[in-house]
Symmetry: C2
DNA sequence: TATTGTTATACTCTATAACTATA
DNA sequence: TATAGTTATAGAGTATAACAATA
């Protein structure tokens, strides 16, 4: 993620303009952007993007899975998946292994090195998350979490 | 926002993988993405991106302001702002007017046509937001909202 | 005939660097 | 000398289309 050109801020802008304080889109997108940027920054020394990190978490979670399955779970295109995995495989963080039951498909594994890198990354990301969530009491974060999960479960697969 | 290539989903993927259900980054980014995509879709007939819509909301909210001020409030680059405004001005939705007190600066206005388009857009976006928030009781949305605002106010201007 | 993965390519978004004009 | 806005350009990210191998 690139850094902004020198933007001179004559006045300190407010985090939540009143007129947008009831917009779910604004609040969610702005919060998401901040945590994503922090995570990108934290992972930079490991050479991982937030996207790549998320993908590795999914691979870790689901055990060996096909590229297609990762696409579906991550809602990204097949061709994007190829490129993401190319980068991870080149750095020997993941491994493609042709499935024995369907030889068109690749099973994706984390390598030992991948697992090591991922656990380091996870520690860094957790630290960022703690800083980000600092203003919330534990019950508040828990309730925020539950509400986001409810939103996702209701909206993830809905058709327009 | 482009549409995904035919991704065959053999199994319906879950909205929130257990291993990521405690990740603020995952939950926020996935929720933000969904609402953003819905908004993009809803605004497509008006030829507005979610980004452009958000910008017009900011212009509406703050009254005539300079491009720099819009950049700071929206956390985007000066050059990106130029391009966004170029598109809006070409469609006669906004107007640049050199400031009389600082002739380097442009004051940005919504045109009557811009206000009309914006109010139509806002109606469409509100409808999407209602659908998106449907699974939450009003108190739940209110608490989610307050928590997001708390996060933003604490994190918006923090230095790394 | 459909599907998995791949390649080549194009598009969108956003930023960096260099410029003009004002301050 | 610094700032507001602009231009030209480049990079990251992600998609579409066409293709090979397999089902």
């Amino acid at each position: 993620m690139p850094k902004p050109t020198q933007n001179t801020q004559s006045e300190a802008p407010e985090a939540v303009p009143t007129s947008l304080s009831h917009s779910a889109g604004f609040l969610l997108n702005r919060s998401a952007r901040i945590i994503r940027e922090r995570v990108e920054e934290a992972l930079h020394p490991l050479g991982l993007s937030a996207q790549a990190y998320g993908l590795m978490r999914l691979i870790e979670a689901g055990g060996p899975t096909t590229q297609q399955s990762l696409c579906a779970r991550n809602k990204i295109d097949r061709t994007t998946m190829v490129q993401l995995l190319d980068q991870l495989e080149e750095r020997q963080l993941v491994l493609r292994q042709p499935s024995s039951t369907d030889r068109r498909a690749n099973l994706i594994f984390l390598t030992p090195r991948g697992r090591k890198t991922l656990s380091r990354a996870t520690r860094l990301v957790k630290k960022e998350q703690e800083k980000f969530l600092a203003p919330l009491a534990p019950e508040e974060w828990e309730s925020l979490r539950q509400q986001l999960i409810k939103l996702l479960e209701h909206n993830f697969d809905r058709q327009p």
